[in-house]
Amino acid sequence: MTDFLIGLFLASLIVALFTTRLYRLLLWYSINSLMLGTLALSIGKSIDDNAMIITGIITIIVKGIGIPYVLKNLSQKFHFVRQITPEIKVQYAIMLVPAILVFTFYLSEPITHMIHTNANYVAISISSLFLSLLLMMEHKNVAPKIIGFLSMENSLFLLGISATNGMPMLVELGIFFDLLMAIVVINLLFHKEEMKV
């Protein structure tokens, strides 16, 4: 089950890299977050960690539903450009994504030997981090850059779940609080600005 969810997590991020429509990108981000939340629930249940279960539920509500909904509203309010063509051509991106995956597995090999539980998940979290950075780099529009930033948070969260079996509850809640603050700041940045950035 965990392997299946983590596979879907990575797959939804890869698909997001090739998306050319904004709403579809929000959908893939939402699926990515839902997979992450479900993964936290699944691992939390298997190791009997209530904090992780709570975090999983908050992830599903805030990241899986709340943030995509707010961003969709923002996009309608400020008339975002919905056609978001990546700067990197598809044929190059198709080669780049597996290269990143192979590279990160190679890069994280010494680490994976030291983590006995979920060793490959650490490698996947690092590759998700790189893929999120790629998502930020391959778009000129601001909206996909925001999604890239949020996906990066997801990768960090995945690392927290997989490498450490969950971080302390206080830290998890703090990260959520900061994420909400980020959304407020993003909203303020868009306020009264023309959406040509």
């Binding site: 030291m114 930033f149 948070e153 960090l156 971080m167």
Partner: protein
């Protein structure tokens, strides 16, 4: 109780920022002094003192950093009183600036006092996000672009820090459990960490994140561009408070990394900082406006502080840090006054200040400009002397004595380039250009006097003894 007092000025600022009365800003300038009361109390209390369980603990190092950053906060609130006299700012944007400054201050108090890696990160992220809006207060396309730039690069840097923290936590969790996030426990059990490679990997990633935030190689210009585009108090806050919080994090993480593997830490940070100073020296040589000049000089000094710290000269690093934290905000706030009569005009910038206030202003700015390039009796002169001395004596115990002497000579050449540029700029400011009547206001002058007094206090024997006791 102690935490409430520490947060009181920021909370007052946040609440008062909703008031539409223009006079309320005067209350903020005076209320900011209130923060000194709990800090003085903290100095008197035995350390380590638990402020909030084991999450926020005051020791000698963070009490010192908190005092320095609070003085900067006070100086900035004083200078903010006349912001609208130097730049175009709407009352609404002015109030929002105060609001986000308050959030920024709260975040950084948490970061500075944190004994917990997670709390440290949360405070830093809060400060980063609140800064974005402070940059945006300047309603220009350049500031708007740089606010987004800061949002994205800042978020990447902070994410790298968290990424590294998770790896460090993962390395310590088998022996410390959930307490593996606490700095003091990690330091005490550093040698027992079962997977040192994992810790070092986490430390390296966190350090890269911190270095990106401080504008180290290869991100040398991003901070300078942002500070150029935003209002001058933002730059003062960056150099005086934000960088203090980042550097204290580096101090804490590196103390643990020193226990894990000192050689790896030293080589990694030393090469990184030399590379940074090499690039920055030439960028300073080409700088054509005050903001970029001071911003790049800030990167140089942060690199020096980092280098002294890892070279076994914490006293020099802390003295240099204190001096830089007072000098740089003072220079950035002065820039606001200097540029109010035409941006980018270096020639004659210090001419035309008449009367007692004017004379005191140009005298203080000259003092700060010459002190930042380590002319004696600037505290930076002594810290560099101690720092380079410690680097050589550290190398005596190894087989790299010649390499270290070469590195120090190379650094001195780079510092002399910076010295030359600053002296040339100072001469152009004082002796070239036209003389025009210029105004300086009481509150900003008061802020500069506060910084000057603080700078002199750093050289008092009691202060030096305190700094030595930290190291």
């Amino acid at each position: 109780m102690m935490l409430s007092f520490l947060l009181l000025p920021a909370i007052i600022m946040f609440l008062v920022s909703f008031s539409k009365n223009n006079k309320s800003k005067y209350l903020l300038a005076f209320s900011s002094f209130v923060i000194l009361v709990p800090i003085v109390k903290l100095f008197l209390l035995p350390k380590p003192y638990n402020i909030l369980s084991s999450y926020l603990v005051a020791d000698k190092l963070d009490t010192y950093v908190l005092l320095v950053s609070s003085i900067v906060g006070i100086g900035v609130t004083l200078a903010l009183l006349t912001l609208d006299k130097h730049v175009k700012v709407s009352p609404k944007a002015y109030r929002k600036f105060y609001r986000f400054f308050a959030i920024f201050w709260v975040g950084l108090i948490f970061s500075i006092l944190a004994n917990h890696m997670g709390v440290y990160w949360i405070g830093l992220e809060l400060a980063t996000l609140s800064t974005v809006y402070m940059i945006k207060t300047n309603y220009t396309p350049a500031a708007h672009k740089e606010a987004w730039n800061y949002m994205i690069v800042g978020a990447i840097a902070v994410s790298l820090i968290l990424f590294g923290i998770i790896l460090m936590y993962a390395s310590a969790k088998p022996i410390l459990g959930e307490n593996g996030m606490e700095f003091d426990l990690l330091l005490a059990h550093a040698k027992e960490i079962p997977s040192p490679f994992l810790f070092e990997m986490g430390f390296a990633i966190t350090t890269v994140g911190m270095f990106v935030k401080m504008g180290f190689f290869p991100m040398n210009l991003w901070l300078a561009n942002i500070e150029r585009a935003s209002f001058y108090p933002v730059a003062a806050l960056f150099s005086g408070i934000l960088e203090s919080a980042i550097i204290i994090g580096f101090f804490r993480f590196s103390k643990i990394a020193m226990q894990v593997n000192y050689d790896h830490l030293f080589i990694f940070v030393f090469v990184y900082t030399i590379l940074t100073i090499f690039i920055v020296a030439f960028l300073i040589f080409r700088a054509k406006d005050f903001m970029r000049l001071f911003s790049l000089s800030g990167v140089e000094h942060m690199a020096l502080i980092t280098m002294f710290w890892v070279s076994g000269a914490p006293f020099a690093a802390l003295l240099h840090f204190g001096a830089h934290a007072f000098l740089k905000p003072a220079l950035f706030l002065s820039t606001g006054v200097l540029e109010s009569n035409g941006k980018y005009k270096i020639a004659g910038a210090l001419r035309g200040y008449k009367g007692k206030k004017g004379t005191l202003f140009w005298f203080l700015v000259s003092l700060f400009l010459l002190a930042i390039i380590s002319l004696p009796p600037s505290p930076m002169f002594f810290s560099e002397l101690y720092g380079f001395g410690a680097m050589i004596s550290n190398a005596k115990q190894s087989n790299h004595m010649l390499a270290m002497i070469g590195a120090v000579l190379f650094l001195l050449i780079l510092l002399s380039i910076i010295f030359y540029r600053f002296v040339a700029i100072y001469q152009a400011m004082k002796y070239e250009g036209k003389e025009e009547e210029k105004t300086v206001y009481g509150s900003e002058l008061f802020a500069l006097v506060v910084f000057a007094i603080s700078l002199v206090t750093l050289l008092f024997p009691a202060t030096l003894t305190y700094l030595k006791s930290i190291s």
